[in-house]
């Protein structure tokens, strides 16, 4: 499973994209990213586990707000940072 990292988060991955992660669900994949790149999770999910206002996830080509989305059969995750303010 690979994750495409958007530009606002590239500093966490050493400007590497895509990166490889493990996990059966979207949340597990994000936690896998955080274990590799400390601090990553808190920038996309808040302390209550909610998705940050301007962050969106696609599993394959399907947008999802369900962090328990299964990754079975999917090859990639896209993290999208929506435009926010000028």
């Amino acid at each position: 499973m690979i994750v495409h990292i958007p530009s606002p988060l590239l500093s966490y991955t050493g400007h590497k994209t895509p990166v490889t992660v493990r996990g059966k669900t979207l949340l597990a994949a994000l936690k896998s990213l955080d274990s590799e790149y400390a601090g990553f999770l808190f920038r996309v999910l808040d302390e209550q586990g909610g998705i940050r206002e301007h962050v969106r996830f696609f599993v394959g080509t399907t947008p999802t707000v369900d962090l328990q989305s299964s990754l079975e059969g999917a090859a990639e995750i896209h993290i999208i940072c929506a435009l926010s303010g000028g």
Binding site: P8, A38, G39, F42, L45, D46, H54, C81
Partner: protein
Amino acid sequence: MAASKPSVHASPKPKLKKPLRGPVELYIATRKGAFVLRSDSERKAWNLKGPWKLGQIIQHMVLDPRDKKTLLMAARPGHLGPSLFRSTDKGKTWHEAKRPPAFPKAKAGENGRVVQHTFWLQPGHKSEPGVWYAGTSPPALFKSNDGGDTWKGVKGFNEHPEYDKWCPSGPNTPPDGSTLHSIQIDPADPKHLIFGISATGILESTNGGRTWAHLNNGCEMDFYPGVPPEYGHDPHCFAMHPMDSTRLWQQNHCGIYRMDRSPAQVDTWQRVGRNMPKAVGDIGFPIVLHPRDPDTVWVFPMDGTDVWPRVSPGGKPAAFMTSNGGKTWKRQDKGFPAAQGWFTVKRQCMAQDSREEIGLYLGTTSGEVWASRNGGNSWKCIARHLPHIYSVEVGGVHQ
């Protein structure tokens, strides 16, 4: 649980500390990153460096006056969650805090609070190296014991049984969210804390944050239909004098106030802003104290009439200084535009140094930094074309 009236510390006659010398550094937080302005020893020439964290919204950046090398920066890029960055080499390298300010995870079925941004950073008492406090929006107080690397909420306030009454959430909060700001620590007692919250008021603890009491008696509420209540006030900026913790100052949504505390009196704010020129009024955001003279402060008034333009009244920027505790005020506008100068100076955007002749510094939302080398008697623009300025803090060799 409310705190009892604090024991007012013996108020020693302020001793004149030796004025400091050397270059001054201004730590400037903006909507698009952070900058540093460094002066020569005379404070005549200034050199701009930066940006750090270009594009990130930097609410506040503060140098630790205890070790003179640790910088903390409260940041939030537009897309992502808030965080906090640390430098232990005065900005050469930056590292993200391991555990930035965040609320505890709520129990299942409950709505937990989420930190939107850290608004205020405050180094702790000089006897507690490594201790920092942070104020956030929604209003909450956080503490770090390790120089800002990990943070925990101060339960005595954040989980106070009355919290939801003091700091209601929902549509009636200020436009950018209510913030906890102006965290002040009594130089004579590290457990004596005071801060302000927009739309709540001033709160005080004398036991390190375990219990809290409101400190708003005497504050007017021009907008309120009735007698001002115990809380629900709007302090814009609050300061305790570093040499006399019984002398408090506040620039409020409804005027400029001074409080002199003694065991014999009920703590009461006096609206000394009534002595400002009527055409200017006494509304503004910042208030800056003379580090050695509790009677001398500076404010930077803004237009708080009509729809609250929040710009210099009449388009004529000016600082105002009192040197007698607010009985009289002196206009200080030499060097500023004489007309069509529509400055907005936010609450964290005016600061002072500790030189013999006090240096004053202010940043505007239009990205200009102005400085005075003579206690406000004349002003000079020392940087322009910066992004919207959110805070200006003084550091440097002398601090």
